[in-house]
């Protein structure tokens, strides 16, 4: 199993958010985590990436059988965990190209690969940029500074394409995107799907799942997964709303 989350409890500023979340993801799979605002979706994404101020109080997370929670954020990234941020951070004074190359070389070095110089890197980057249909000029600009919402999300997927993660967590990557940007972003994500890697797509709406078709869908509510199913669960949620999901399952019909 690539990722095993067992009875995970986590708090933010002393307030419990995740209250016993259990989830397993295997290589080659795409799982969607859906849930209303405040259900703990972003907390899950941030705990997996290792952000400060998210305190794990109980449970464990195994990534390739190793204790993920014991690793620093940079170790996780080097081990192949990637978080596409809901709100990508603007970093004035650091060019996007320099950022991408520094990140790639940090990861390559940890994996025992040779670091790429500026020229080799540009060559390497060319195909990745086409994948996310990003304007070349954004490479010379400061990281995310003055980028539109769509450009920021494309930049996240570009980073994902560059770092080639084994486990990618997409935190509300669809939020704030128009339909064209959504299509491009989803196209990039789909191109990166493989039998070796897995993705955890965190989203509020079913819309994204028309483009990134999940193998499994989980409904997160009040810090726990209350329903799991195949992609049809997402359609049912869209039709009936989260209140339906909260009511006790009438049968196990929706739970495959």
């Amino acid at each position: 199993m690539l990722l095993e989350i067992r009875n995970l409890h986590a708090s933010v500023e002393g307030k419990p958010i995740l209250k016993g979340l259990t989830l397993s993801v295997d290589a080659g799979e795409v799982h969607a985590i859906m849930g209303p605002n405040g259900s703990g979706k972003s907390t899950l994404a941030n705990v997996l990436a290792g952000r400060d101020h998210y305190e794990v109080t109980e449970g464990e997370v195994l990534y390739r059988g190793r204790n993920l929670l014991g690793m620093s954020p940079e170790e996780r990234a080097r081990e192949g965990v990637f978080l596409a941020f809901q709100y990508p951070v603007e970093i004035p004074g650091v060019s996007n190209a320099y950022f991408l190359r520094t990140a790639l070389n940090a990861v390559r070095k940890a994996r025992g690969l040779e670091e790429l110089d500026a020229l080799d890197f540009l060559e390497f980057l060319r195909g990745k940029i086409e994948l996310v249909e990003m304007d070349d000029s954004l490479l010379q600009r400061s990281v995310n500074e003055g980028f539109s919402g769509g450009e920021k999300k494309r930049n996240e997927i570009l980073q994902m394409a560059v770092l080639e993660p084994t486990l990618a967590v997409l935190d509300e990557t669809d939020s704030g995107l128009d339909i064209d940007a959504l299509r491009v972003v989803a196209g990039g994500v789909n191109a990166l799907r493989s039998a070796e890697n897995a993705m955890l797509v965190v989203t509020h709406y079913q819309r994204l799942l028309n483009y990134i078709v999940p193998d499994r869908v989980h409904v997160l509510f009040d810090g726990r997964i209350i329903r799991s199913g195949d992609k049809t669960l997402a359609f049912r949620l869209e039709e009936e709303g989260y209140d339906w999901a909260k009511s006790p399952p009438e049968t196990n019909r929706a739970v495959a």
Binding site: A49, G50, R51, D52, S72, P73, E74, R76, A77, R78, F82, L83, F85, P88, V89, I91, P92, G93, V94, F99, T102, A103, A106, V107, A110, S142, Q159, L163
Partner: protein, 441 residues
């Protein structure tokens, strides 16, 4: 604060007596006479303590309590240019090297390149131009500065740069001041005089570096006179050792429609105080002042600037940044004076400090003295720490925490490099900055 065990005036006067006996025979008569008038002024002005408001931020105790003996320059001494200074030596730029104030021909390249720029020892220029004598001897009693006079009192020789009317070059002139910093605590007095003729242009770089790791009191002074419609870009870099107390005064006198940009980089020294004065003494003159401080350990850096808008329609733009780590401290005092007849003055000042340690500190004191109507003066200051969200963002991409801090710190500073016109200067400063950041973070 350790008690001051002697009167500084008495101590410096006694050292002055011994020093002049040693060097009198070897110095230019104008400089010899200047030394005598200056030591008299030092005695009458006296030395400040922290009780003097203007010097409150600078701890001068080590200057008074250390038996600094004036360095006797040895023109034949075998010296090697130290590494940080080497970064700033570009093969095609004119270079003048001074060791303990004395011009060293062997290490210098001062071509007569036909661009009307002359670089030489001050003593030589005194024989050729009366203007340099006037600049050297100029003294404004209302703005008496004891350390500026102390520089004259212990002057042996210095650097002179002259640009003829309407001439000039974009290629920077590099002045490298080295202090031997060996054989006991040393007192050195680097001096530079610059005269840029009418409509001329000049790029000038001054670097202060140590040859050894001994204690040094560097008491430097630079006087720049910019005639009408001249343009100057001036970069100063301090990379002295941590045992150095560097007290420095730079005065820039600007005539009508002249434009000056000064860039001050403080990367070294233990205690540094840089007094920078721009006097906008001609209509339409413009001054741009940039500064970057990088201080760690227990270092203290004081930037004290004064911009005097003396004529109408003068403009100034001032931006300083400090990166302060460890238990270091950066103080900035920026006075902007708008004289009564300086209508339509436009003055802007912004200061930003980045604190990298819980015990690092920064202080900003803007002082606006506006004696005219119809002016525009703005100032602002910020102090902050590295953005934790940005740090996490970088780390989440595999970049380790130290490297992430260095990347964000360089990003904070890079704006000050971008302001410099000459590309190799920008690159050299960036190399030095990143090298220093690797030591701190």
């Amino acid at each position: 604060m350790a008690p001051v065990t002697f009167e500084p005036v008495d101590a410096f006067t006694a050292r002055h007596r011994d020093f002049t006996r040693e060097v009198d025979g070897a110095t230019h008569p104008v400089i010899q006479a200047l030394r005598e008038s200056a030591i008299a002024r030092v005695s009458s002005i006296g030395f400040p303590t922290r009780k003097h408001e203007e010097w409150r931020t600078t701890d001068l105790t080590p200057v008074y309590a250390t038996p600094f003996s004036p360095a006797i320059p040895d023109p034949g001494s075998a010296v090697e240019i130290p590494l940080p200074a080497k970064l700033f030596l570009e093969a095609s730029s004119p270079l003048a090297v001074f060791v303990d104030g004395i011009f060293v021909t062997r290490l210098s390249r001062t071509p007569t390149d036909g661009h009307g720029v002359t670089v030489s020892a001050l003593s030589r220029m005194l024989d050729e131009s009366g203007d340099f004598r006037a600049l050297l001897e100029s003294y404004d009693e209302s703005r008496a500065d004891v350390f500026a006079e102390l520089n004259s009192a212990f002057l042996v020789d210095g650097a002179a740069v002259q640009v003829e009317d309407g001439k000039g070059s974009d290629r920077p002139v590099v002045l490298l001041h080295l202090s031997t910093a060996a054989g006991g605590p040393r007192h050195v007095s680097p001096r530079t005089a610059v005269i840029a003729g009418r409509g001329s242009r000049l790029r000038l770089v001054e670097i202060h570096a140590s040859l050894g790791d001994g204690r040094t009191f560097t008491n430097a002074r630079t006087d720049i006179s910019l005639h009408a419609e001249s343009t100057m870009e001036y970069v100063r870099v301090l990379v002295e050792n941590e045992g150095t107390i560097h007290i420095d005064r730079t005065s820039v006198l600007q005539e009508t429609e002249s434009t000056a940009a000064t860039h001050s980089f403080v990367f070294g020294g233990g205690t540094v105080r840089h007094n920078l004065v721009h006097t906008l003494d001609g209509e339409g003159a413009e001054a741009r002042l940039f500064g970057l401080v990088l201080a760690d350990g227990r270092r203290r850096v004081d930037n004290v600037t004064r911009i005097e808008h003396a004529r109408p329609s003068t403009r100034s733009f001032e931006r300083y940044k400090g990166i302060v780590a460890g238990e270091a401290r950066h103080s900035f005092t920026g006075r902007i004076v708008v004289r009564p007849d300086a209508a339509k003055t436009d003055a802007r000042q912004t200061i930003a400090n980045l604190l990298l340690g819980a015990r690092a500190s920064a202080e900003v004191k803007p002082q606006l003295e506006i004696l005219s109507d119809d002016v525009r003066c703005t100032h602002g200051a910020t102090v902050g720490r590295l953005d934790p969200d940005a740090l996490f963002y970088l780390r989440s991409r595999g970049i380790d925490a130290d490297e992430a801090q260095r990347i964000l710190t360089r990003a904070f500073a890079v704006e000050m490099l971008d302001e410099i016109g000459e590309e190799w200067m920008r690159r050299s400063l960036d190399t030095l900055l990143q090298d220093r950041l690797r030591r701190i973070l």
